[in-house]
Amino acid sequence: MEPVAIVGWAQTVHEKSKPDLNYAELVYEVVQPLMESLSISYSDIETVVSASSDFSDGRTISNMAIQDVVGAPLKSESKVSMDGAFALVYGYARVASGAFKTALVVAHGKLSEGEPRLIANAAWDPIFLRPLGLDDHTALGLQARRYLDRHNLKEDLLSEIAALSYAASSQNAYAHRREGYTREMVCTSELLADPLRALQVAPESDGACAILLASGERAAQFTSKPIWLRGVGSCYDAHSPGQRDLAESMALRQAAREAYGRAEMSHPAEELAVAEVLDLSSCQTMLWAEELGLCPSGRGGEWLLGQRSASYNPSGGALGAQPGFATGLVRITEVAQYLRNAAGGSSAPGRRVYGLAHGMTGCIGQAHCVWILST
């Protein structure tokens, strides 16, 4: 297989609402600066993979509306109706196969246009779950309660961990929540679904993200500092909150194991310089770290509050911004940026620096995708 590099990326500022832009224009807000930063035109993009949700956009085959801004007419373009991290799998495969030398991967989410609670309810099985009014907040509440009970942890930990994310997102110019909410503000925010409070779950944001992939032989044409895709793993879990133990995620463990194996990492907890996860609640901020093998089970909070070798969600994660299916792709660009900064001014001499980026579809983690990137 051809080695594949991320050679450029762009994301929008993520906001509660962008009523002045339709979603094609929102996508252009990342495609245009991406092309400009690389001094390329549409003719340099050989194929496109996008990620978006028909339900969120209120249109079937929602990618049809973005064909012009991604330069897709008379090219191959496919949509993944999942998180953007999964779209990157398809873009990667197209380049790794040798069939294409470049691929644009783009994702958008404009959650302000619809009613996220209703769309979340519609994501569940219509016979056994939807009639119960289940939505993402309810399911996240069930997960958080199970996690706390399983490990005998106090509810306040959810506020403490959320405040860590807000300290990070307050420094992130792209984040939706930049107010730097403190633990006190989090633990007095509105109760949504016990034990979860409003500031312990991700906001609903409008935003987009784009990445350009290039084959190994073409990467140098675009940048002297490519970020290499070293390994990926993805795995599905059961659909219903009743069909698995919500205090763990075998699917994330499996996805991580695959990704580490393909990247030939034997001690990921020591080898990773950075990890960015898609955490829809501060419970998930902890739980995903555990299932990625960065700390022992039930100790995610302790690990986050203590001394860590790896930087974890330096962007603030999804609590900082959640632009729908763009959220996982944003995690990948954040890791790419972190690694590029770590590599310094010149192309990294000697030691590779590794990072992990996680995307997910389904609010309590029904499908996980784990990427390993390196300088």
């Binding site: 016979i127 056994f128 009014g133 069930l142 109760l191 679904a193 016990d194 009743g242 069909q243």
Partner: protein, 154 residues
Amino acid sequence: MSSEQERSIAITCPGQIKIPYTWPAGQAGSRFLVALRDRMQLLGVRCPACQKVWVPPIRCLTCHQIGTEWVQVGPQGTLETWTIVRTSVPSIQVLPVPYATGVIRLDGADTGLVHFLGGVEFSKLFSGLRVEPVFNAQRRGHILDICYFQPVST
């Protein structure tokens, strides 16, 4: 024109998609719902490979085998986790907020059933609570033929 002025003239078009659907419960789902409606019984299906009993019935997600042995489970069970729904979204909710939703592991089942919790003060809810279903007098072969699960009377 400044971007602030441009934003103030942004036009948006409200709309709503209203499409009726008819979703079959499927062969296994129908058998589960008929037992609920006609006999107030809860059924699961046992995986022939790992012996796990799935409720509601589904192909075993671990072994990918179709279970052929139907077993009656419950009606009592144990509360595995729960939450209290606080925000009102009337178009998807059948109960007024606040109300409790939980995952119930029915006796004899290896998976949990998601359903409402009732007949109990929220402060008395805990994981491990023993519960039993309260059925609707009028049943139609629907998951809401169970009103809710309440603490087992001692």
